[in-house]
Amino acid sequence: MPETAETSHLIVRNLLTAAWLLPLAAFIAQVYAVECWSNRLSRASGLLGCAAIGGSLVLSLLAVAFFPSGSGSAHTADDGSNHAAVDAEHEAHPSATPAALAGRYYTLARFGDSRLELGWYVDSLTLVLFVVIGLIASCVHVFSLGYLDDERTEDYRDEHAHAGDEQPVSRAGRFHLFFAYLSLFCFSMFGLVLAGNLLQVFAFWELVGFCSYLLIGFYRERPSAVRAANKAILVNRVGDFGFLIGLAVLWTSVGTLQFATEVDSKGVTASGLFEQVRGDGQLELSDDSKSVVLQRHLEAGDEPAPTRPTIAYTLFVLAGLGIVAGSIGKSAQFPLQTWLPDAMEGPTPVSALVHSATMVAAGVYLVARCYPLLAPEVLLVVAYVGAATLFIGATIALTATELKQVLAFSTISQLGYMMLALGVGGWGAGVFHLSTHAFFKSLLFLSAGSVILACHHEQRLDRLGGLRHRLPWTAAAMLIGTLAVTGVGIPNPWAPGYSLALSGFHSKDMVLASALAFVRLNPLHSLLYLVPLAGAGITAVYMFRLWLKVFVGRPADQHVFEHAKESPPVVLIPLAVLAFFSVFSAVGGESSWLYRGLVTSEPAFVAASSTSSAIWPITHPGHEEIHAAHGAAGLMVWLVAMAGAGIAIWIFGYQPFSADELRATFPRLRQFLLDRWRFDALYDLAVVQPVLRISRQAIAIDRTVIDPLLHGASRLLVQLAGWGRRIDELLVDGAVVGIGAWTWRSGERLRRLQSGQLRQYVLWLGLSVVVLFGVVTWMRPG
């Protein structure tokens, strides 16, 4: 049915494009809101933002409905030939990634036979992320209407920023601007997910980073916020540096950055990255295993070229590592995790949207999207990075003292889980956890925001306590989030999908199952299972510690406690929506709608177990192996999580030790964790200070080397000129003056001949004539 395929292709494109551009339109309107058609007291900007993102959500849902579903859940490795969707100009060619639609908006540049363009690439991963982003962003927008209500004023007093005289800074409110930034962020995030090639991903990657900069630095009067914003962008740029290198490798060696294979209007096929690298499945290595053979699309009748293009295996690995470096920066993975905790300086809705659910997950998205481009060795790196990150994040979260800090480290840790899952071959598990995590982590952050709002921006854990009496709804919402992230539930070892549990349980279960399957095949890498298992326990401890410290126990600060009051409905409704999704989004586990939708986008080669032996042998588990490990892994992680929860409830609920006793138990370990494993100090010492020193040197070189050279040269010139002047004065001028003087003297002498005696003159005349006559006669030739 080519016609329907074509129409649905166009419909999906137009819907998603509209969903993508709607927030941009809102942004432009909002930037000029105050000047043009509103004032600082108006809600219009916020409502416009809500309308725009709501519209995007509806459009995304429609796109899901129109997405060609024939290729849906019945995915197998060999079905890549029958859902090519054709439109007038482009064709998403069947390749390693089935069920993808792709096309081009316009060309950015064309060099020889290579082209860079603005395109789009839609598969179920794109769609799920569109819906998830739209949903969470809508909730956050609505929540922000309540959270930032105090910005709707001409005179906002910021208690955290001080002018020179120690008075709180007073400024005009920036309600409209906040929503403008949020809209811009949504636009960038949609663009990132929709992007049809790696350069476009990179562009929107930077743009979301920029939006995050704007949002972290929203309270721009606070030095800490501005510093955090700068740090976020700079640390991210370190990762992006790697990303750019990866792009350069692929661009140079493969010759395209396009994901999908495209056919242009002249019928010329340009093979996309995925097809070129993976063909229809596994990497094809050259005979000596030193390079990867690229699969270029052949026209009908073309003979295969005798030497097919290849890319050196080391370069291929380098490209993968570059892309992963970008992910590490954006997803706050070890060793670039340090920016995310600082990013909590931004308003809480931002933390919920940007710094937990969507933008930071972009790194995971990138790894998932570029999965076919990653060599097994790179995936191993991804797995270890994930493992390291989840452990570091979880341990720091144990001692963090502020509400949002705990959640930030929890985010880092959970992102580590996703990376780990992707690294061990659990593609579905990784993106599944990405989706569920988005729901429950934004729920947690918004709940935290509700607490912060109720307690007038008090978020230190030792000043809170017992708040469940004052904030019952918030407490319930946060408990749901806590249970979800902890993975608490009643497992069903025989049919794990039908356990009675929250979303986090299912997705984490899948992650652990993938890890266990991987470790069974590669016993050398056992850590990759043990670390996340331990992490699950630690997660339970810190999350329950958080909930108990905030909502249970005696109020630490009576003043805060008594002034706390439950947030308005505009804040609570988004919590309810997110809570609903946190509970139900993954019901059914492997057979849930969400998971089955996601795995249709899974690269074909993941489904079956595979062994690669380019550098050292790594065996990745297939679906079957993972499924087999599910029961055991689920049971173990459940036990560990319950143990962790139990410990937390014992220590922080029943409080057998006083806080001071706890602090004194492992003072040095505690300090190490409070210093966040001393990464910041290390980077300051190893990178920031040296760079600043070198930069000062650079100016110093200008001032002390280059300029003095120039000055020396000019001084030499002046010296030379001095010599020249002396020569002038002595020789040239001397000669001229000498001749003048001599002439003068001669004249003086000759003057005596002028006696005035007329007859004497005549005599001279006569004599001269005679003499002349004589001379002429004598000189006469012959």
Binding site: V31, E35, Y106, T107, L108, A109, R110, F111, G112, D113, S114, A161, H162, A163, G164, V169, R171, A172, L199, F202, A203, F204, E206, L207, F210, Y213, G217, R220, E221, R222, P223, V226, R227, A229, N230, I233, L234, R237, V238, D240, F241, L244, I245, L247, A248, V249, W251, T252, V691, L692, I694, S695, R696, Q697, A698, I699, D702, I706, L710, S714
Partner: protein
Amino acid sequence: MQNFDLLLLTAIIFLPATWAVPLLFFPKSAVEAMRWWTLAGTAITFGLTLVLWGKVDFSSPDMQLVVAVPWIEPWNIAYRLGVDGISLPLIVLTSGVCLLSMLASWSVDKQVKGYLILFLLLETGILGVFLALDFFLFFIFWEVMLLPMYFLIGVWGGPRREYAAIKFFLYTFVGSVLMLVAMLMLYFEGGYTFDLMRLAAIGEGRIDGLQFSRSFQIVTFWLLAIGFAIKLPVAPLHTWLPDAHVEAPTPISMILAGVLLKLGGYGFLRIALPICPYGTQAAAWALVGFGVFSILYGGLAALAQTDFKRLVAYSSVSHMGFVLIGLGCWKISEQTGMGVGLKHWEMGLHAALFQMIAHGITSTGMFFMVGVLYDRVHHRDLNRFGGIANRMPEYAGLAAVLFFAGLGLPALCGFIGEVFAILAVWNYSPLAAVLSALGMILAAAYVLWTVQRVYLGSEYHGPLAENLTALLPRERFVAYVLSILAIVFGVLPNLLLSRMQPPLHQLVIRMDEAYRGLHQVLASIGQAGGG
């Protein structure tokens, strides 16, 4: 048609200078009238360049609207003009930047008449350089441009203006002298002609029996390259730039950064590369090497500045490094002399030219934005700003657009040039690509730190806080135009790239052929010697 072309091109070049003549007869007190008069002149020139834009057929790789009128016949010098897709964007950029900086010239109060006359002469000189197709004419305009600039810095500049002006003059003059030597060498070696197109044809081996020898090309290329590199500028020949920028009045800084630096890059593309393909290839490593050095050095030096203008000046050094690596990333195979991945070099050339335009927009904008602040509070010490975003929100927003364009934020014009250059240079040298990508981190660092110190924060620390008033309509116009251009070219780079493509593609093809020809000669000599 020929006559009309001649008239149009001549009008574009000489209209500003002619326009300056009536200025002599304005009474000294009619300052406002003189400004409007000059503004009208620059606006008409800009309009004429747009007419030119409309007349050029961008799909053709060849020089268009070529006119040649004999001038000094005994020496075979002609008044030869023409445009193509390489020069035209720069011409429109020039007239546009001149128009905008004329709008920014309202802040100049001292000896307005002299200033405006020199300003117009400067515009004539620059446009002449971009339009000239005769090396002699090119050189004349090159020098014509130098003098007004010298006086504009030396008379209307800041406290150390004499030092800066002389430094600027000396540096550029050294470059000119080297160029003059190269020019005369080419004149005699190329059969007594100054015709750039003929010289290029000889250099590219397209004329039977006449070809510059390899050693000749290498020497000539270095002479030309040093001259153009000073203008670009390339570290370590850059130290005139910070001083000149810091001391020059705002509109002159805008022209200096926006247009004058591009003359160096244009010189490479129009003269050094096509005339000396072999020399280019022999010096490619140096172009890329010094380009990378400039990127890193400029970025590091910018990071440590406390003077706002000096910071922007060093950022220019860094940005122009990308131009140089784009120009130089021509990889060949040592055995056969064949180009390896020529399409990447073509991309590099595109990136270089695009970066020139983009930098013309962003650096003009950045200097203008610094000038707006300087006009109000009369200092440029980065540590004594802060909180400007709250006092002048619209200004801060527009400044952010331009500064982030300089940082290389996607969807703004700085991104395209820099990223394309890095992608292109990997083919030539992965190390160079890695190092220049580091330059983008440095760019982020110094831009962000500047934005933090100037625009963010709780309050303004410096003097004259009461002067921090909203933008005037004139200033707003300039800022919006530049910001919108930055966005347009960032989102639709193909507007420019597709127009540059035919001539650049042809250049790549021809240079590759020329190099191969010479390389084969070399190889056969080598074989003969070995045999």
